[in-house]
Symmetry: C2
Subunit: 169 residues, 2 copies
């Protein structure tokens, strides 16, 4: 199950990358610099697009690392352009895609994962995944989407959900 969840994070990061590309096409058509979106926010005291993308990447990366009990690569927070945002997503994906199902074989619901904050506290694997990492990941992915949507980019639910592996019934 942990592997399944991590594969879905990777799938959604690829979707987020495609949504960024849609924003680039929109900016091109409207003849403005797409990097104007990098610092866009929905409220003056809310995180800008660049940080929404970083935290989405880090949440996916850390979920994979912690559940596979591997060390995560460190990625510096220096992005200022869409090109660098694509690269940040690419770095998170490179790490996650390098893990296989067997890397998660030792993770059981009893595994306690240490939180960076608050210090000295942790969450059991199922709570970590369902109550903390999944909601946190989508919080930042959807806020990134909402910032771009609010800014006029023509994205919709089908872009966000991506192609589903439908079967005939």
């Amino acid at each position: 199950m942990y592997y399944l969840a991590v594969r879905q994070f990777a799938r959604t990061l690829r979707i987020l990358d495609t949504i960024l590309t849609k924003a680039e096409r929109y900016a091109e058509a409207r003849k403005f610099d797409v990097n104007n979106f990098v610092s866009a926010r929905l409220a003056p005291d809310m995180l800008p697009l660049v940080v929404q993308i970083r935290v989405a990447c880090d949440t996916a990366k850390m979920s994979a690392a912690n559940l596979a009990q591997k060390e995560a690569p460190k990625h510096e927070d220096t992005e200022k352009t869409f090109e660098e945002l694509h690269a940040r997503i690419g770095k998170a994906l490179a790490f996650i895609d390098g893990l296989t199902e067997s890397d998660f074989a030792k993770a059981t619901p009893d595994l306690v994962i240490k939180m960076a904050n608050p210090q000295g506290k942790g969450l059991r694997a199922n709570d970590y995944l369902f109550a903390r990492q999944i909601p946190n990941f989508y919080f930042h992915v959807v806020s990134a989407y909402d910032i771009l949507r609010h800014g006029g980019v023509d994205v919709g639910k089908s872009d966000y959900l991506g192609e589903l592996p439908l079967v005939d019934v």
Copy 2:
């Protein structure tokens, strides 16, 4: 696992209910009618708050029903006030909270769940949960949050994540 996922949906619906209460307190302090938020949107061609809440409720309700292979109660889309939005969340929770772990015992990854759209198509249980229902649920919960946050309501990440079942490490 399906039960775990459904319990998290219920947990997040309770959090959404609390966020609505925070919006009511904000409107009271600022002396405006909180129901002005019901039709608020982030873009003119995006769904308003009322529909974000309805779809979040229905996604949670239908996930629970389909994975437990039970019939879901029908809830009419008539809400116009925050009082009615709280009630809508309450109705979804009443159904979900009535299901127990044993109701999900027959759901296996091979179970194919019929989609309302596109017709004649379905998703296997794990794809249904991870690729469709979880991303869709958080899409609407976070968009509801973002609409209120954009409208000035003083909510933050800790409101959204709620109290986590931390353990000492």
